[in-house]
């Protein structure tokens, strides 16, 4: 027996007290800095992080690029409020609904408060996209163009209400974005200072909405809302589903072992392991992320697993010894080695995640590995200690009534297993044949696996966020935003300097030559050059000729600079326009907003609003003058969401109807194809940003990272198994249930068309941890028994007695125990709940059917090999 277990048996009270003390310290270590951050400054407070962006390290190039572009184009995270009216024939375009929408828009603009550091937090009022806050450009009688707020005041009549729709529908950047194409619904876009306040802002909006009468439905969505809501519900999950699972496991154990007192010990082990692991996670300053929030759910089955083995063995052996100490000694001697190895393999499986390129997954893996070690430690000490603390009297009759006569089993489970053993012997070949067939089917299934994820789909169907997502994407161009930046491949600054020097030389005037001489010291910088000219002009207030000569030089500078303003060039705008058209062909892009749309719309309104004027004008000056006209509106700075003031870069806002990574990938591919097929007049480089795109980047890393981590840990576990069994072939044999389980699980995922997403990816590690456990227990006990009984035919009866029952009880207790997770409103938990059960079932069945069948067929080889 292990030294530690012995010590625990000798001093059970001290061990229990120590466990309680450690748990209390961990709880305090989390609670104190969280509840009293001022007083307890040496420990980090609990912080929740539900931002999928953090799946990537903050230094990740794509994130740095994303944040830099958001800054450069003044883009913000947005809350989307969809308003739908299905009873009014005019939808929301009636005076009553528009009055409410108007009030909501005006109210939203004023949501702001002073943040903790004194900076203003809340809604960025000027950037709100609401009918009262966007400009309408239209004809206003004879040769007059008008800029006005789309809905300055709520309309009084039905006719005016309809006019609001007509006006917005005429503007490409509002149609299908602010107003739905069917003329029934409206969507408001509310930019916020940071993602973390979206829940607070949404609640303020809900409060306001609750004061409205009428038949309008309001749907609040957008990625920031989804993330914040996820955070809130994640806690509900942790507080309800995990304890529910614990309760069910408890009830099942009660059913099997009939002693409430006794089965409290695995619960204690699980609790203490989870508390210590999570406590350490928080105390080391790690955030509770979507991944790490699942740590308790993963540790619990693993922690209970070994304890169930001990109890199961104890349950069966106690009637023989009728003495706690002797029984414990017997049980621990039998189990200590398999338990150590199962824990090591599980820890290795999860520990390998430390080598994935995704920080939250690394933390997840490392802390589960740690938790598994804790679970092992507490299992081999606390379970024996706990049993020692029970009086011999309370164990009276324990196991006895159900003591199995191995030849004449009484319980249905024991009967089934009793029959199963000989069956695997007699039907070994057909079992193996069937396994091979299923393996083939699985391989086919795996080939069909679709890698995809979508944070909005982490909410169950029917959740208000999913409903909002569905309703809005059915009516509008799409609530998922991705941004594509286009920029020149070449060095525009260098070509500007070159062109300007040439122009100055050709001009040859005194002032031109003076500037040319200064070009090097001015570094070809446009601002520096302009300042230089201004300074020269200011010094010349009396010499008018020289003043105007400098004016001409300034014009030369502008003309040379104009060549770098590539997105003022009609040819380039038409290229962007063609790309936009091409994107629509994917069927995934609802629409895109870009610079050409602004130019075309203003150009149309300058020419009497006629459709044939809805085009890019023919010269760069005409484009520039169209754009300067646009800048006489209420929101001139909207332009800089689409281009830099230097027009050397432009951004396309692409609205997707789905946030599925696979759809985003298709759009990315479509752009690659277009650019490869259609070279731009000036060679362009392009890059994506936006949350919808970022999700695909971490998914790619996750898939490849998980695969590598899995293969790595598979090899490590195999080596460990070979060492454990001191035999290559027994080592290989122990990997069979795991391999089969993984193949089946991912085969099923492929066949039923479930997406391979974040939780599914993590399951491979869990399978590794759990499936190999059963194999170790089964094979270790088989070899022990074979030593005594010789022929496998005889050994099999023994193995399908107590050892098989322990495995079967394990499968049932833990497998059933996690079914409550399937009723969780968050899909990752559902997935994990379902697949934990499935993995356990497959691993159990694979262990109890396939392993004995293989041993039967290869008995000579396996045992002979061992003997030599």
């Amino acid at each position: 027996m292990l030294l530690l277990s012995e010590m625990a048996v000798d001093r059970p009270k001290s061990f229990m007290r120590l466990a309680v003390l450690i748990s209390l310290l961990c709880i305090l270590g989390v609670a104190l800095p969280t509840l009293m951050p001022q007083q307890v400054t040496f420990l980090p407070a609990l912080s929740i992080d539900t931002d999928p962006e953090n799946m990537l390290s903050s230094e990740e190039p794509v994130r740095a690029y994303h944040n830099a572009r958001k800054e450069e184009y003044s883009l913000y995270d947005m809350i989307v409020v969809g308003v739908i009216n299905t009873t009014d024939p005019n939808g929301v375009f009636n005076p009553q609904s528009l009055r409410n929408i108007y009030e909501l828009g005006e109210y939203a603009r004023e949501i702001a408060w002073d943040g903790p550091d004194g900076q203003t937090e809340g809604v960025i009022g000027a950037e709100v996209i609401a009918p009262s806050n966007v400009d309408n450009i239209e004809q206003a009688g004879m040769g007059t163009v008008r800029f006005e707020w789309l809905m300055k005041t709520p309309p009084e009549t039905q006719e005016d209400a309809k006019a609001v729709y007509e006006k917005a529908a005429n503007l490409p950047f509002l149609k299908d974005t602010l107003v739905s194409g069917d003329g029934k619904a409206m969507a408001l876009y509310i930019p916020i200072t940071s993602k973390n306040i979206s829940y607070t802002v949404a609640n303020k909006l809900r409060e306001k909405i609750s004061t409205f009468g009428g038949a309008d439905e309001y749907h609040i969505t957008g990625l920031p809302i989804a993330q914040d809501t996820f955070g809130v519900e994640m806690f509900i999950q942790m507080a309800i589903s995990a304890p529910m699972a614990m309760l069910l496991i408890f009830l099942l154990m009660w059913y099997f072992f009939k002693s409430v007192k006794l089965i409290i010990s695995p619960m204690i082990v699980a609790m203490v392991s989870v508390i210590v692991t999570m406590g350490l996670l928080v105390m080391t300053g790690n955030t509770v992320h979507i991944m790490s929030s699942m740590i308790p759910v993963f540790i619990m089955p693993i922690a209970v697993l070994d304890a169930v083995h001990i109890l199961s063995d104890f349950f069966d052996a106690y009637p023989r010894y009728k003495d706690r100490r002797k029984t414990i000694t017997h049980v621990m001697e039998e189990l200590s080695s398999p338990m150590l190895f199962t824990s090591l393999t599980t820890a290795a499986g999860f520990g390998s995640l430390a080598f994935t390129p995704i920080p939250p997954v690394q933390i997840f893996g490392v802390f589960i590995a740690f938790g598994v070690a804790m679970a092992w430690l507490f299992t081999i000490t606390l379970v024996p200690a706990y049993i020692m603390l029970m009086s011999e009297k309370s164990l009276e009759g324990f196991g006895l009534a159900h003591h199995e006569d191995e030849e004449h089993p009484s319980t249905p489970l024991a009967k089934l297993l009793h029959a199963m053993g000989p069956y695997t012997f007699s039907h070994a070949k057909s079992i193996l044949a069937l396994t091979l067939v299923l393996f083939g089917v699985s391989a086919y299934g795996i080939s069909k696996v679709r890698i995809n994820d979508n944070p909005v789909k982490w909410f169950a169907e029917g959740h208000e966020i999913r409903v909002a997502d569905k309703e809005l994407n059915a009516r509008f161009a799409g609530t998922y935003m991705a941004f594509l930046e286009l920029r020149a491949q070449g060095d525009l600054k260098a070509s500007f300097a070159l062109a300007l020097e040439k122009a100055l030389e050709e001009n040859g005037g005194k002032q031109s030559l003076e500037l040319k001489e200064q070009m090097d010291s001015l570094g070809g910088d446009i601002d520096a050059i302009k300042d230089f000219i201004s300074t020269r002009q200011d010094a010349l207030s009396d010499d008018d000729d020289a003043y105007y000569a400098w004016d001409d030089v300034a014009t030369l500078v502008d003309e040379a600079y104009g060549e770098t303003e590539i997105f003022k060039k009609p040819a380039m705008l038409r290229y962007v326009e063609a790309l936009q058209q091409d994107l629509l062909k994917t069927g995934l892009v609802g629409k895109s907003n870009a610079l050409p749309d602004i130019v075309k719309t203003v150009h149309r309104e300058l020419f009497l609003g006629e459709d044939q004027a809805f085009r890019i004008p023919d010269t760069q000056n005409a484009v520039a003058q169209t754009l300067i006209t646009y800048q006489n509106s209420h929101r001139p700075n909207d332009l800089w969401h689409f281009a830099t003031p230097g027009y050397d870069k432009t951004v396309l806002w692409i609205q997707l109807k789905s946030g599925d990574n696979k759809d985003m990938n298709t759009v990315v591919k479509a752009v690659e194809d277009f650019i490869a097929r259609t070279p731009a007049p000036i060679a362009l480089a392009h890059d994506w940003f936006g949350l919808t795109y970022i999700n695909t980047v971490w998914q790619d890393k996750m898939v490849s990272g998980m695969m590598e981590a899995f293969l790595g840990s598979f090899v490590i576990v195999l080596v460990m198994m070979i060492a454990l069994f001191r035999s290559l072939w027994w080592g290989v044999l122990s990997m069979v249930p795991l391999t089969v389980t993984i193949a089946f699980i991912y085969g099923i995922i492929g066949l039923i068309g479930k997406d391979y997403d974040m939780p599914v990816a993590v399951l491979s590690s869990l399978s590794l941890g759990l499936a190999v456990d059963y194999a170790i227990h089964f094979l270790a006990r088989s070899r022990e028994a074979a030593k005594k009984h010789g022929a496998w035919k005889d050994t099999i009866r023994i193995v399908f007695g107590e050892p098989a029952r322990a495995i079967a009880r394990n499968v049932i207790v833990i497998g059933m125990g996690f079914t409550p997770l399937m009723f969780a409103p968050l899909v990752p938990y559902k997935t994990v709940g379902f697949f934990i059960s499935a993995i356990l079932l497959f691993a159990g069945v694979a262990t109890l059917l396939i392993l004995p069948a293989i041993i039967t067929v290869f008995e000579q080889f396996l045992f002979k090999r061992k003997d030599t």
Binding site: I124, W149, A554, P636, G646
Partner: protein, 261 residues
């Protein structure tokens, strides 16, 4: 004690006559100082818009102004763009009416297009800058109720509240009007939450032809962090601008003689 009281009451007594100045008189004088010096005038204006990121956009234009009615009333403006080169020769023309909506025209040479711009709303951006149309042409003093908040050593501080609040985005603005020149040295705009979000400042004042003239003014949008600076050069008053250059005919053929000094 007696002496102390005396010294305390003295400054109060001294400032009293200033307080006596009627607020409408202050506002009228400030309006005159800002928009109505001389019968007409010309200036070369350099506009630099610097956004929060430090990115600069410049515009260079010549502005001609002529008062068409006496008593600080109707005026005409002709704004001719020199640069950026791609909008060169673009013209904005405004007929400002105190008792009616202004008339505004836009001439876009590259499109060979003269367009009237409806002026129902004057609080739109002036060519993409932080200035609104109304800041450039002057807000009608009768649109607000004015109260004198404070009289300091140098300034009258006047609070102006719009009579029709839903036509404008501010809830009130405060002007710091210089006591001798009556130039509004600073104007602060406050939003519905009572927070200052916009600020105009006269950054440089020079005396030109005996008129105290702002030669550098700025407008800052405190929310977006953007600032526009206007620098005036070659300012001249009373140059005898003929009335007919402020007509549609002159949009296409600029009055070159009057545009240059």
């Amino acid at each position: 004690m007696r002496k102390f009281l005396l010294s305390l009451s003295l400054p109060l007594f001294v400032t009293f006559p200033a307080l006596a100045m009627d607020v409408s008189e202050i506002v009228a004088k400030a309006n005159h100082a800002a928009y109505y010096q001389g019968e007409d005038g010309r200036a070369r204006v350099k506009m630099v818009i610097t956004d929060k990121q430090g990115r600069k956009r410049t515009r260079d234009f010549t502005i001609l102004r002529k008062d068409t009615k006496s008593g600080d009333s109707d005026q005409k403006f002709y704004v001719y763009f020199n640069r950026p080169a791609d909008v060169s020769k673009t013209v904005f023309m405004v007929w400002k009416h105190v008792k009616a909506d202004d008339d505004r025209w836009l001439y876009l040479p590259a499109l060979d297009l003269v367009k009237r711009i409806a002026a129902t709303d004057e609080r739109t951006s002036f060519v993409g800058s932080d200035f609104f149309y109304e800041d450039v042409s002057g807000r009608n003093t009768t649109e607000d109720t004015h109260t004198l908040l404070e009289t300091s050593d140098n300034y009258y501080v006047v609070k102006s509240t719009p009579k029709k609040a839903d036509l404008v985005e501010f809830s009130f603005y405060k002007s710091y009007i210089h006591k001798t020149s009556f130039i509004p040295v600073k104007i602060e705009f406050f939003d519905k939450r009572g927070e200052k979000y916009r600020e105009a400042a006269a950054e440089k004042v020079e005396t030109i032809q005996e008129n105290q003239t702002v030669t550098q003014g700025s407008m800052t949008d405190l929310r977006s962090g953007s600032k526009t600076v206007l620098t005036y050069s070659g300012v001249q008053y009373d140059i005898g601008l003929p009335d007919d250059i402020f007509t549609e005919r002159y949009l296409r053929t600029p009055p070159t003689d009057y545009l240059k000094k």
